[in-house]
């Protein structure tokens, strides 16, 4: 549907690299004495830069022009995702947005998954008044989730596929929480929880390993067990319960749309021939 050409892949990789640095910057800052240090104001600069990066990547992905069917599918699936999202209201990690993203990315491929992650979160933010500085970061993180689902091995089918998607959903649930926490962590510096005596706050300029240790303690204490586990359970249950049926529905739509084939006009004088090639029915899986 949305093909990843080599150039798009390069642009996507570069933008992902820069985006990743903006997520994990607290671990990268290294203070050198007597040097101009951008530690404290870096996150605010990034809040301005990340939207530009996302826009550039989206422009590149749709550069050759997008198929109208891919576009309509993108819009409808974004609407479904946006409708699913407020169901959980983000409470206690009941995040209902990711499983659809994983399934759609799996069926329609990495490029589509990436764009769907962006458009879903954007549409959902427009609908739920969730527009804010966190939006670009959420968009990029869920775009990665959709892309990753599209990059999973194609050959796996049947029960093994569902098992693989469940596993991916669990991993992604924790990674999403981890990376969003990492971005958010420095903004609540000085955070102390009363049931853990050590300091878990961010120390600008401390060695990477020390900050990483502090961060892991922080995220395990505050969110991994509760929120991220809730998200992982939601993903697992949703993929197990409706996953096979949703996959079938999406694949049926993909087949019906027959992406990548375009109608042609027969040359003058020739009898009309049906441009849509008949496809053999799929064996039920």
């Amino acid at each position: 549907m949305i093909r990843l050409r080599p150039r798009s892949a390069v642009v996507l990789t570069l933008a992902s690299l820069a985006g990743l640095m903006m997520f994990v910057w607290p671990l990268l800052v290294r203070v050198e004495p007597q040097s101009m240090q951008h530690g404290p104001d870096a996150p605010f600069v990034f809040i301005g830069i990340l939207p530009i990066l996302i826009v550039v990547v989206l422009a590149e992905l749709s550069e050759g022009g997008m198929d109208s069917k891919a576009l309509a599918m993108l819009g409808v699936l974004s609407a479904v995702n946006a409708a699913l999202r407020p169901l959980g209201a983000g409470t206690a990690g009941i995040e209902t947005v990711f499983f659809m993203l994983v399934l759609a990315g799996r069926v329609f491929g990495p490029g589509f998954g990436f764009v769907l992650g962006c458009t879903s979160l954007f549409a959902s933010a427009l609908l739920t008044a969730g527009v804010g500085p966190w939006l670009p970061f959420q968009m990029l993180a869920s775009a990665w989730i959709g892309m990753g689902a599209g990059l999973l091995p194609r050959r796996v089918t049947g029960k093994a596929e569902i098992a693989m998607l469940v596993g991916y959903g669990i991993v992604v649930a924790y990674l999403f929480g981890f990376i969003m926490n990492l971005w958010f962590w420095p903004f609540i510096t000085g955070a102390e929880v009363d049931y853990y005596s050590g300091s878990i706050s961010y120390v600008p300029g401390a060695p990477v390993l020390e900050n990483l240790h502090r961060f892991v303690v922080f995220t395990v204490l505050t969110s991994t067990a509760g929120w991220d586990t809730g998200r992982a359970i939601t993903n697992t249950v949703a993929i197990l319960v409706v996953g096979p049926a949703v996959l079938a529905v999406l694949r049926r739509a993909a087949r019906k749309a027959s992406y990548g084939e375009s109608g042609t006009f027969a040359p003058a004088g020739e009898p009309f021939s049906n441009p849509v090639r008949a496809r053999p029915p799929r064996p039920p899986s």
Partner: protein, 367 residues
């Protein structure tokens, strides 16, 4: 000029969006229930006065339902997941103990008035913003918004617009599927019922997307641009080089041991090159505009009224912030002061001064 001012026409959608976002911004500055209720009332009044007959205009009721749902959910969640901040306990529920590692989650237990009220204020603020967005959706023609997207984002912007306009149809689709289930005597509960509703709705939505694609194709969507191979290569090169610059710049910004000339200058230059590539990518899309929306006096009036509401609310929160966020520590009736009240009332202006929409069936036939 004033003779034609009140002739029925569709306003520029951006004017309605500016107006609605102004109201929403104002709502985001306050948790005072009187002000929030007033903002909702203003939005409803303008919508009723100036909406057309298109399906998106009739979807406004859904946004009101959604708003009510948000408020209810916020309060219910406060009750379920720990609502004991404050001293005025109004309800004592048995608490379900959870292990210590489930950080931040508590099931039931004592419920305080402060916490429930906090949930209500918070939910009402979010609900007000949703209603404002609903008003924009009801008043602005989403299809006309397509014209305002930057050319390089034409496709993605179209996808988002499709998503926004499909969203209300999903609710209608759910209702239809449930009715059909009832007619067939389907009374299953639990997982089967869920599957019985989710899958048909999804299939319906996907079928609709194919219909939409077909109608877009038949209207000539997807005409390839005229960019030459060389121009496209240049676009790609600009993007790649720009993003490389951004990568280096971001890293150098973070790593104090790299030379400083690699940080901000490279970052800015990389961004500039990437944006140039973005603009070049937009140049492939050549689209003429059929009957372009013009920005006229009425648009200025509508947009200005929304901006005025936001500006007054920002000004008030600078000068006299006490009544905008009622205290949750000492419980009392929230008070209302004149400046924000009058400011919010400025949002009513479009109900009186915007030209009426074009209606297919005129309500009254002029004699």
């Amino acid at each position: 000029m004033f003779g034609t001012y009140f002739l029925p026409r569709d306003l520029h959608p951006a004017a309605w969006w500016v107006w609605a976002l102004g109201l929403a911004t104002a709502a985001s500055r306050t948790t005072n229930p009187w002000l929030l209720g007033l903002i909702i009332a203003v939005a409803c009044l303008v919508v009723v006065a100036r909406r057309g007959e298109a399906p998106w205009a009739l979807a406004f009721r859904l946004y009101l339902v959604l708003a009510g749902f948000i408020v209810t959910m916020r309060v219910v969640f406060r009750v379920i997941f720990g609502g004991a901040e404050g001293s005025t306990i109004i309800l004592r529920l048995p608490e379900i103990p959870l292990p210590a590692w489930a950080a931040g989650i508590r099931l039931f237990g004592a419920v305080s008035a402060e916490s429930v009220l906090g949930g209500f204020y918070d939910g009402l603020r979010l609900a007000t913003m949703v209603v404002c967005l609903g008003a924009a959706n009801a008043l602005a023609n989403p299809k006309r918004l397509l014209k305002a997207m930057p050319a390089a984002l034409y496709e993605v912007g179209t996808a988002v617009t499709v998503a926004l306009s499909v969203f209300p149809q999903l609710a209608e689709s759910v209702q239809r599927v449930r009715q059909a289930r009832k007619l067939r005597g389907g009374t299953g509960k639990g997982v089967r019922a869920l599957r019985g509703i989710v899958i048909p709705v999804l299939a319906d939505a996907l079928d609709r997307s194919l219909l939409l694609a077909a109608s877009m194709d038949s209207r000539g969507y997807g005409r390839a641009g005229v960019a030459t191979t060389r121009a496209r290569a240049a676009t790609g090169a600009l993007m790649v080089v720009g993003l490389l610059g951004v990568c280096v710049g971001v890293y150098a910004t973070l790593d104090g041991s790299t030379p400083r000339y690699l940080a901000t200058p490279v970052l800015v230059a990389g961004l500039a090159v990437a944006v140039a590539g973005f603009r070049a990518a937009g140049r492939r899309v050549h689209r003429s505009r059929y009957r372009p929306d013009r920005w006229q006096l009425a648009e200025v009036v509508v947009a200005a009224s929304g901006v005025a509401v936001a500006v007054v609310m920002f000004g008030t929160s600078r000068v006299d912030p006490t009544n905008l966020n009622p205290s949750l520590i000492t419980l009392s009736w929230p008070l209302l002061s004149w400046p924000p009240l009058l400011g919010v009332l400025a949002g009513v202006v479009p109900a009186l001064l915007a030209p009426p929409p074009v209606l297919a069936t005129p309500e009254e036939v002029p004699a």
